[in-house]
Amino acid sequence: SLSCGSNVSLCCKKDFYIKFRDIQWQDWIIAPEGYHMNYCMGQCPQHLAGAPGIASSFHATVFNQLKANGIHTAINSCCVPIQRRPLSIVYFDSTHSIVKTDIPDMIVESCGCT
């Protein structure tokens, strides 16, 4: 999985971090101090399609069927998250109780082509 740089045009992971202080959310979110959202961007040429990840399941089967039937020229492979991790968050809810929860699949760890 590639990390996006200035000269990377292929499918890669772009780091994107939001500091809760910058959006005035630090008064209700106790921890962490920010959110590493990240996202995927870049090109997915045909030779990269079918890279491991979520592609190795239902989607891969569909795309392989389409390729086998020669319909692939009409379809582009997409650059999508293939690995994500949860975000642990501690915050005040509307009744000023403190809540700690793990939200699954919130942080993009790596990207790949479908």
Binding site: W28, P32, Y39, M41, S88, V90, Y91, T95, T101, D102
Partner: protein, 237 residues
């Protein structure tokens, strides 16, 4: 479509949308992130914090929790709960501080009130719930005491015993009471405020601290909660 990709650098290669300028893109992504967090926490909007919980009370409560480790600089080191990180319906922990300015607390009956926000129609399973109380002796500590925690019904009627504990009287110490059953009954009911009452034999001279002056000893209740998945219920026919 394929025509939109390739040489045309002004278009997003992933989705064919027109490219945004850097400022607008950052603004859009921030907005998406905000909406994503609120939606995952089942919140329509960010909670409006009208009064802050005293920092000392917050730090004490978090230090008592196994997962929230407080660093020297006061920030939190967070760890994922292994089980909840893998499931779609994660368990979460709630810490609620006793409402010390509420009439129940002022009544002198050892009354504590806790308020929880409830989502309409959501069924919750209480995995474990513990009441934390800081008890200190007014005079030289001696002997053992027995404390009981009751859930009070509306208007103080129909009290239910939730837990009982015998402990050594010390100068000042935190005590825990398991109140899982009572908290589950509360979440199954339509009430918004959980009222608990304390009784103590052999420890009339003890004080349960909860006044604003003793914010680091403010009583609190911890609950591990999981949304109840009705689809997994087993029925026998």
């Amino acid at each position: 479509s394929p025509e939109q990709h390739g040489a045309d650098e002004s278009r997003c290669p992933s989705c064919g949308m027109p490219a945004l300028d850097k400022g607008s893109e950052e603004q859009l992504l921030t907005e998406i992130a905000k909406q994503q967090i609120l939606s995952k926490l089942h919140l329509k909007e960010r909670p409006n914090i009208t009064h802050a919980v005293p920092r000392a009370a917050l730090v004490t409560a978090l230090r008592k929790l196994h997962a929230g480790r407080v660093r020297q600089d006061g920030t939190l080191e967070l760890g994922n709960t292994p089980e909840s990180a893998q499931t779609r319906d994660p368990a979460y922990e709630i810490v609620s501080f006793a409402d010390t300015d509420h009439a129940d607390s002022a009544a002198g009956r050892g009354g504590l009130a806790f308020q929880f926000s409830k989502e309409r129609g959501q069924s919750l399973q209480i995995l474990q719930s513990t009441l934390w109380l800081y008890v200190r002796a007014a005079e030289a500590p001696r002997g053992k005491a027995t404390a009981q925690v009751y859930a009070a019904g509306p208007g103080g009627a129909n009290r239910t015993l939730l837990g009982q504990k015998q402990f050594e009287v010390k100068w000042g110490r935190w005590h825990t009471f398991t109140v899982t059953r009572g908290v589950q009954a509360f979440f199954d009911s339509g009430d918004k405020r959980l009222r608990l009452e304390l009784e103590c034999q052999g420890c009339q001279e003890l004080a349960v601290l909860g006044s604003p002056g003793n914010s680091s000893h403010q009583p609190f209740l911890v609950a591990q909660v999981r949304p109840r998945d009705e689809s997994h219920a087993i029925r026998r026919r």
